[in-house]
Symmetry: C2
Subunit: 639 residues, 2 copies
């Protein structure tokens, strides 16, 4: 099969407009309707305007519990000069009872005194129709209740029923087929050797569409074979409103989607000017949309959001209802491609009444960034840099209420921070700890700039050999440092230590491949301090430039045999079932934004740090010492 | 049965806190869990933290389509000085293929030239692991993926599957029973005579809970009988997590809920300090919540929002995700009770970059206000007046995006405005015309104050006998008036005109009961003008003080035999199948906010007014003349 070069890449807005125009011409957006009993129509969209068959209420009735009276009999009654009504002048009624002329008003049960069965004392004079619900008070018969394209909520259904509308004509649900393709994709439970890819995108696509009220079927995976794909698509197209093929929309030698779709119909766009999401195909087959979605989950999600969702909403004639918009400050300098729109997934937090966002992993392949995102930022084509401190619009995928409660932790990485996050959730489910692993210096700078609530740091001062305070004092006049844990740093090596590594000096051995942590991380500073004390030249260490961003990523590299040793903490060696050579105790502390210490969320975290529950969790791991945990050191502006 | 006086009414926050505390003590909020296949867990809440079973990706692989190379073979290649790789130095690969050592990098297909089967020209030198996705790049095995209480979205499911988590432990769905009570409530299709009430609240409650992911069963209506209700509740309580009784929670003679619940369990609160929503009972039976919900739909909705929803979310350990918050200006002076919190349902529009809200009908019984609301405003206890122009927080129940597109029409009422609303929707489903019927003067003042996009007015100047312009000039220097319709005003009377009414003079007859329109409405001004010209004293007209707010409400009153005649428009007489005595042609025009005339939505409305479609719809009704429709009169500041 010939490799296909992309058609000219198109801007997303233009491509979507062109595609929608063509789908309109093809009649795809003409509503198909069905008639449903009103009680079954929750969330459905009305196909045409609806008029009341009956007034609501349909008759004059008591609006309160009490007694029916003739208003003329009540004239003159006051609190100080009550009046007695006798048998025949009143009748006990409950809310909803039909008004019985000549009675024309109701006195509430709370406002009368029952003398005996035949006599009632009243304390007010009431006008005609007092406490009477009148015919049509809520809605008149023949009134238009809803225009077409109204999405029905719970209370809409009850008004329709009350006004005698027992059936409604609604827009039919879309029926979509998802076709996973690829020789290497298998169901997630069938992964037996490297090279097989778990087929997880159909779960993403199907559930995404389910949340948009679309009916979805997933076809069994189809082999990368032109004829098979042609056969599946051409059979499916008559039974479904839309077909989504995943993946094969790029330009690899097994990417058949373009060829299939140009044979069966017409390709409107191949390649979108967006990142991630480029390898996308928009086509029409038999006047229906067939879309080739990219294979990387990040790209797939962006195209679902930018192309598929607008088409579903256009078909349903309605707008999405669960998103918010906030203006937020970028905590990083972000470089983006000048020639493409880029959708960046971000976590959002509110710090001192301002929203700040942290960009998550940007690769198209990352799923984790999707699951951690609070919203997305668009860096438009033509913008190369989003500066640190710049304000931009963030489209949220959570409620603002939920985002307002996020606590942003930035800094060095330790498994106990995840444990803390889980215990915070256990204490108050409305709180989230957003964790950004950027190393100790990153944590310190985030607090200095007001870009985080809490920073996690373990920074060894190379002159005095003391931890954290010297660094903090250098950058901050006012600070609150909470002593957290002492932890054991050492060499993480293969199980049973086959290469007999004993100390840092062994790292220069020719048979040893090292894996390092990133620059400005506390562990890197610690390593460099000791290497320099020992007089070891870093160029002698093979793998010194091979950097990982977290302890667990470093350990994974050793576990997979891609490295022999790395400096890291004991708990991670234990988690990954590797050997550990203890070398140094270091102090890992929490630097807290001073304003945040007045927040109830800070108090909750402090209580947790001091709790038996947290201490017991921490001490199930090797290499932690919590004897100082919870001690607070405040720095004041005393210079 | 003895009437029950309310326990001391409690503030909602206090009552909810007390109730939740008691439910916590009773163990109700302790999560009950179940294990589900991950693919079935959309929208469910994790009961405990989840760790990755496998790294994502699990092996090193090609990140792009292209060729595997050894990075050392590429050294020195540039665009101007390309290099040729020969058989054995490269291998064609697709994204996802396992890295095969000694190959250690990928060159993208777009960046190479295939000379022949054995020779490939490359134009770049690549470092090791270039375009390689490394093990654990997305997620490392043993990493905590989610803390407990995370609500699973579509992409969360695919990450769980990819990391080998095929099953998850989630919080069980709540199982709720709704018990409608009352001798007079029947299914909506069974209404045969006045006095029967359509049972629509169970539809409201059940569908409201369904949207919160709760399983709901509706019990057949139970008679107002102490023993029956005791029997149903005591049988149900062991099978359900929560029971909602509707209604019978007030103090009427058939309101048994309080007595039933104090017999079977413990009542925590009876009567809430909120409007609407007062007649509410919060009780525990067998350590489970049983709530007596008020019978009026507006009250019922408020208690669902303020009490039931927080309990469901507390049980699910998660927050709602589809609401927004905006600050908006009140377009009216609103009086509220100083002793209660009041929840006001409002429509929201954005006018000249500011949000304004219009309060909807405030009665507890109104369903229409629920169906028309864009959000709610809380007027707290202790606040008696919300001033016109005051800024308050509005909690929206629609997306801000949708609200931003609302067009606010304020003014006099005509059925053609609903037709226009429906046609606007037909042209662009993202737009809503919010209609507030407040009479012509209300429409004029709303435009003068910037509280509406469009005002609908028919105001007769009593001095010169001209319509609209004299009034508009009095209040506005800059204005845009769009001529809309001429319409026939006359007397609406019973079918076949049994009382032989011919002219306004007949209204003083003793056998004729009149129904009027509200003060400052155009129709009222028109009536008063002609009565005064004829020298008729309004005190001679029986029913002159009986006011209705719309033409259709006025006609309904006549239709129901509650009045014999009223001044109104021909089309409404036709809709309601009543007789009509034509008297005057009047001019009904649209006064438009000048800034709005630059908006595409205004252009869309102008095009509609001039369209055949609108004209044909209008002319199916009697008494309209559209010959001037669409003419624009602008007033400039030329004084």
């Amino acid at each position: 099969m010939e490799r296909k070069i992309y058609l000219k890449k198109q801007d997303v807005d233009m491509a979507l407009k062109l595609y929608k125009d063509r789908l309109y011409e093809a009649g795809f957006f003409t509503p198909r309707t069905e008639t449903l009993p009103t009680i079954k129509a929750l969330g459905r969209v009305l196909a045409k305007s609806v008029y009341a068959n009956k007034s609501v209420p349909t008759y004059n009735s008591a609006a309160m519990d009490g007694i029916f009276v003739r208003s003329c009999d009540t004239v003159g009654a006051t609190k100080t000069n009550p009046k007695i009504l006798t048998q025949g002048q009143f009748k006990f009624v409950n809310t909803g009872n039909v008004l019985e002329p000549p009675f024309d008003a109701v006195i509430m049960i709370e406002n009368l005194h029952i003398v005996d069965d035949n006599h009632i004392q009243i304390f007010e004079s009431v006008p005609p129709f007092h406490n009477i619900r009148l015919v049509g008070e809520d809605l008149c018969e023949k009134d238009m209740i809803f225009t077409r394209y109204h999405r029905l909520k719970a209370y809409d259904l009850s008004l329709l029923l009350a006004s005698g509308v027992l059936e409604v004509e609604v827009i039919k649900k879309m029926n979509v087929l998802v076709i996973p393709t690829g020789d290497e994709v298998v169901p997630p439970e069938s992964i037996v050797y490297d090279g097989l890819i778990p087929e997880t995108n159909s779960t993403l696509i199907a559930n995404y569409l389910k949340e948009l009220d679309v009916t979805v079927h997933i076809h069994p995976p189809v082999q990368d074979c032109f004829e098979s794909i042609v056969s599946v698509v051409s059979q499916a197209i008559s039974c479904y409103d839309m077909v989504l093929i995943n993946a094969g929309s790029s330009a690899g030698s097994f990417d058949y989607s373009y060829h299939v779709l140009s044979k069966l119909g017409q390709v409107i766009a191949h390649g979108l000017n967006i990142r991630p999401g480029k390898p996308t195909i928009l086509a029409l087959v038999n006047d229906k949309p067939v879309i080739g979605l990219p294979g990387y989950p990040g790209s797939c999600f962006v195209v679902l959001e930018q192309i598929v969702k607008p088409i579903v909403f256009e078909k349903y004639k309605t707008l999405p209802s669960n998103e918010g918009i906030v203006e937020a400050i970028s905590t990083r300098r972000i470089f983006s491609s000048i020639s493409e729109d880029e959708i960046i997934r971000v976590s959002l937090s509110k710090i001192n009444d301002k929203y700040v966002f942290v960009p998550l992993k940007r690769g198209a392949a990352t799923m984790e960034a999707l699951t951690k995102m609070d919203g997305t930022v668009i860096v438009p084509k033509g913008t190369e840099v989003l500066d640190e401190g710049q304000k931009v619009i963030v489209k949220t995928c959570k409620s603002i209420e939920e985002i307002d409660k996020n606590i942003l932790f930035v800094g060095s990485n330790d498994p106990l921070i995840s444990i803390l996050a889980d215990l915070i959730k256990a204490k108050d489910f409305t709180l989230n700890l957003n964790i950004a692993n950027v190393g100790s210096m990153g944590g310190l700078m985030a607090i200095a700039k007001g870009y985080a609530h809490i920073g996690g740091i373990h920074l060894l001062d190379l002159d005095c050999g003391e931890y954290n305070l010297p660094y903090v004092r250098k950058y901050l006049k006012n600070f609150v440092l909470v002593k957290f844990i002492k932890r054991n740093q050492g060499l993480i090596v293969q199980k049973s230590n086959p290469k007999g590594i004993k100390a840092l000096e062994d790292l220069t051995r020719e048979d040893i491949r090292f894996v390092n942590r990133q620059k400005a991380s506390g562990t890197r500073i610690l390593l460099d301090y000791h290497l320099s004390k020992l007089g070891i030249d870093t160029s002698q260490i093979s793998g010194y430039d091979d950097e990982e961003f977290t302890h667990i990523n470093l350990a994974l590299k050793i576990k997979k045999g891609l490295a022999d040793a790395g400096l890291g903490i004991a708990s991670v060696a234990q988690i990954m079932d590797l050997d550990f050579i203890p070398l140094f105790w270091e102090e890992y502390d929490l630097l807290v934004l001073p304003e945040f210490t007045k927040d109830y969320r800070f108090q909750l975290i402090m209580n947790l740090i001091l709790s038996e529950e947290f201490r017991n969790s921490a001490l199930t791991w090797q290499g932690y010492d919590l004897s100082d945990a919870g001690i607070v050191i405040r720095g004041d502006d005393i210079d």
